[in-house]
């Protein structure tokens, strides 16, 4: 439990009152600091959690807490590392790596003040409850300025002494008239800095009414995608973790899909100006992402091989890292270039133009968005079904790759416009598409991995050759990847048939009208 201490009740008089209630042992107040951490995309917050780093006397200590009750789910000594996997082995590391995966910790806020620990004792001088007084609190969220926060009292249970804690809580509430703190200090600080705790999500949330003009709806989609892109820009340039670039690229791909698939709803001058620029952005971000994918998949690689050759792969990892860093430097330069800056500025300027004040829009832009969405989704769906039906066991990988791209376009359109459709119909359709996409995605990834591994095996002369046992291990690995790829390829027919099944086609008919 966490209480707010009113101005009238000083920590000293609080202690006096506590002593009247039960024997206590109080340590001296010490300067302390609490820092609050989550990933950039607030994965902990979404699970109702926060990671606290508490420092007193220079020895930091970590606690993963539930936001509502403040109960502690895991702890470790030491400071917050960059990534969860760098924590000392134990329950805390396991829980956090499950939730955060490859996302890095971000300091969201910190408070400093005087912290005083108090133990409530029984007649054996045994601790039955623990309290911490957090006094003279000042803090800030992100880069915001300092705020004063009301003093707080934290009560923590000692296991097996629930009755004592209940009595204490009753005393604090009724005897001393303390109010329970309505929110975690981190939230108060975020509020002070004008942010909300969960204000970043990689998943955009588009909402439209059916009669809204289609052109404006598309512009709103593009504006939201630009927000996502910009929020991930700094993390991408600094390579804080690989998810920034990933989200950055998804925003680019969605933008390109909108500019391409919905071009008849936008001014031609706009699509002509920006489509090539976003294509360029896609191209310059590809090398780093490919290397990230290799590095992220590396443990998976190792597990594909018996122990010994898997050890031999280590030099490959080193090599990948070198390449990744080189590609990353180049990307950072591109993202600092005048061309990119100008793209952002011009794009933002056009998105902010009031309706009617810019170059002429096509007539179809005035259509109700629901109607335009139906037509566009129908068209791309037809293409998915046509391309998929044409694939048989002898079709080349390029055909699957093409279908994969078409499926992505369909997926993006479904996501852009899903607010226009009944959830119980659109969700199952998206889910069915997702299952098909997984098969196509894995097939293509394996293709890319196997090709890249071969390329690494035949490294250009400019680089020192990899040791022979590493080359051997790479060879073995490529073979494993090919095997897996054959399996995935064999599953395609079933997956596609499941997607094109009559119940899905019925959904399609109900959702978008007419036969696709």
């Amino acid at each position: 439990m966490e209480y707010l201490l009113s101005e009238k009740l000083s920590p000293a008089s609080l202690l006096d009152s506590l002593r009247g209630f039960a024997p206590c042992k109080a340590e001296h107040p010490r300067e302390g600091r609490l820092r609050f951490f989550d990933s950039f995309d607030r994965r902990l917050f979404r699970q109702g959690l926060i990671l606290e780093e508490e420092t007193q006397d220079g020895s930091p200590f970590l606690q993963l807490r539930r936001l509502g009750t403040g109960s502690v789910l895991g702890s470790a000594s030491g400071r917050v590392p960059d990534f969860a996997e760098d924590l000392p082995p134990g329950g805390l590391r396991d829980t956090l790596t499950d939730i955060l995966e490859n996302r890095r910790f971000f300091p969201l806020a910190e408070v400093r003040g005087l912290f005083q620990r108090v133990s409530l004792l029984d007649d054996q001088e045994k601790t039955v409850a623990r309290l911490t007084v957090l006094d003279r609190l000042v803090g800030a969220a992100e880069e915001g300025s300092d705020w004063r926060l009301p003093s707080r009292l934290r009560s923590e249970p000692v296991r097996g002494y629930d009755r004592e804690l209940r009595k204490l809580d009753r005393f604090l509430r009724n005897g001393l008239g303390l109010e329970t703190a309505p929110e975690h200090p981190w939230h108060s600080l975020m509020g002070g800095a004008g942010c909300s705790p969960g204000d970043y999500s990689a998943k955009p949330d588009f909402r439209f009414t059916p009669a809204q003009p289609a052109g404006e709806a598309v512009r709103a989609i593009l504006a939201q995608l630009l927000d996502t892109l910009e929020r991930n820009l700094e993390g991408t340039i600094r390579d804080l973790d690989s998810e920034f670039l990933h989200d950055f690229r998804v925003a680019i791909r969605r933008t390109r899909a909108a500019l391409g698939q919905l071009k008849d709803l936008l001014p031609t001058t706009v699509t002509a100006r920006f489509r090539p620029e976003f294509a360029w952005l896609g191209t310059i971000t590809t090398p780093v992402r490919d290397l990230d994918v290799h590095l992220l998949g590396f443990d998976g690689y190792r597990n594909l091989l018996p122990p010994e050759p898997s050890v031999d792969l280590a030099p490959l990892r080193e090599r990948l890292l070198v390449h990744q860093r080189r590609a990353q430097r180049q990307l950072a330069e591109e993202l600092a270039s005048p061309r990119f800056r100008k793209l952002l500025a011009d794009w933002r300027a056009w998105l902010a133009t009031p309706p009617g004040a810019d170059s002429p829009w096509p007539e179809s832009a005035a259509l109700p968005v629901a109607k335009a969405a139906n037509a566009h989704i129908r068209r791309i769906l037809r293409r998915v079904l046509r391309e998929g039906a044409a694939i048989d066991d002898g079709s080349p990988p390029a055909d699957l790759h093409e279908l994969r791209k078409t499926c992505k376009k369909l997926r993006y359109l479904l996501e852009f416009f899903q607010s226009l459709y009944p959830r119980d119909k659109i969700s199952p359709l998206i889910k069915a598409l997702k299952e098909l996409q997984e098969n196509l995605g894995e097939f293509q990834d394996l293709e890319v991995h196997a090709q890249a591994l071969r390329a690494f095996g035949m490294m250009p002369e400019a680089e020192p050759p990899l040791p022979p046992e590493t080359l051997l291990a790479i060879g073995q690995l490529s073979e494993r990847l090919r095997q897996r790829q054959r399996q995935v390829r064999a599953e395609f027919a079933v997956r596609f048939a499941a997607f094109a099944a009559s119940e899905n086609l019925r959904l399609v008919h109900d959702l978008f009208g007419r036969k696709p």
Binding site: F61, L62, G74, S75, A76, S77, G78, P88, P89, G90, G91, L92, S119, Q124, E125, K126, T127, R130, E156, P157, V158, R159, G160, Y161
Partner: protein, 248 residues
């Protein structure tokens, strides 16, 4: 959850001192730690100032649903909890004997604790019994304090023989020297020679020290009142060594 047991057939060799002090260090470093005082004499329970009493006794612990969980008491230290001793534990053997597969049953009993704890220390009573057999089956590491005397060496051999007979391949036996008095030539000799036959003997030895005896008067773990004493530093070093073994 890592399960460690402090065990020796002999009493008074430093099992409880090790369980209490190592568990204290584990919790201090951030791990959620539980000590189960399996000895009906309740020395560990006494050190933590907790009543040596479990509602319903050993029977309830072994029998009911979450019997263990509801008996746990927090200690004076954050993250360090205790499952207290109870006088009825002297019949734990008979209770386990009534079960079809005592070892399996014991393991199953401990399994739910894994959600709440990173380490479980089992502080065993001296003797070979069904209880110790069950402990051997459940623990990952068996910490065996040995006072460097010929008699202690014999009991160590008995433990190894038992391990062989029972085929306890998953159990890591880690003996360490306890109550070492370097002034005694016999102690010195054994401390030098045993590791040559038994390389798994831990390097850190716990010296004989009056501040360890003080634990009984102060009812505190050693590091809580004398963190810089030689014995306290030795326990810290021992804990580091054990953690290395757990990682390996």
């Amino acid at each position: 959850m890592k399960i460690l047991a402090t065990y020796n057939i002999k009493g008074g060799v430093g099992k409880t001192a090790a369980a209490v002090n190592l568990a204290y260090l584990a919790a201090r470093d951030g791990a959620r730690t539980l000590v189960w005082d399996l000895d009906p004499q309740g020395a560990a329970t006494f050190y933590f100032r907790i009543k040596p009493k479990v509602k319903g006794g050993g029977e309830k612990l072994l029998g009911g649903k979450n019997g263990l969980e509801s008996a746990i008491k927090g200690t004076d230290y954050p993250r360090l909890d205790l499952l207290p001793a109870d006088f009825s534990y002297r019949h734990l053997d008979i209770l386990l004997d009534g079960e079809k597969k005592p070892t399996k049953r014991f393991k199953k009993l401990l399994a739910p604790l894994a959600a709440s704890y990173d380490y479980l220390f089992l502080d065993c009573p001296p003797s070979i019994s069904l209880v110790s057999e069950a402990v051997f089956g459940a623990a990952e590491i068996l910490l065996v304090p040995i006072i460097p005397t010929p008699l202690s060496l014999r009991t160590l051999e008995q433990i190894y023989a038992f391990e062989q007979d029972e085929g306890l391949n998953d159990l890591k036996i880690l003996p360490f020297f306890s109550m070492v008095d370097r002034r005694k030539s016999l102690h010195r000799e054994i401390v030098e020679s045993l590791p040559q036959q038994r390389p798994e003997v831990l390097e850190t030895e716990i010296p004989y020290a009056s501040e360890v005896e003080q634990m009984g008067i102060r009812r505190l773990p050693l590091a809580a009142y004398s963190p810089h004493s030689r014995a306290a530093l030795a326990f810290a070093e021992l804990w580091r060594e054990i953690q290395d073994q757990l990682g390996a």
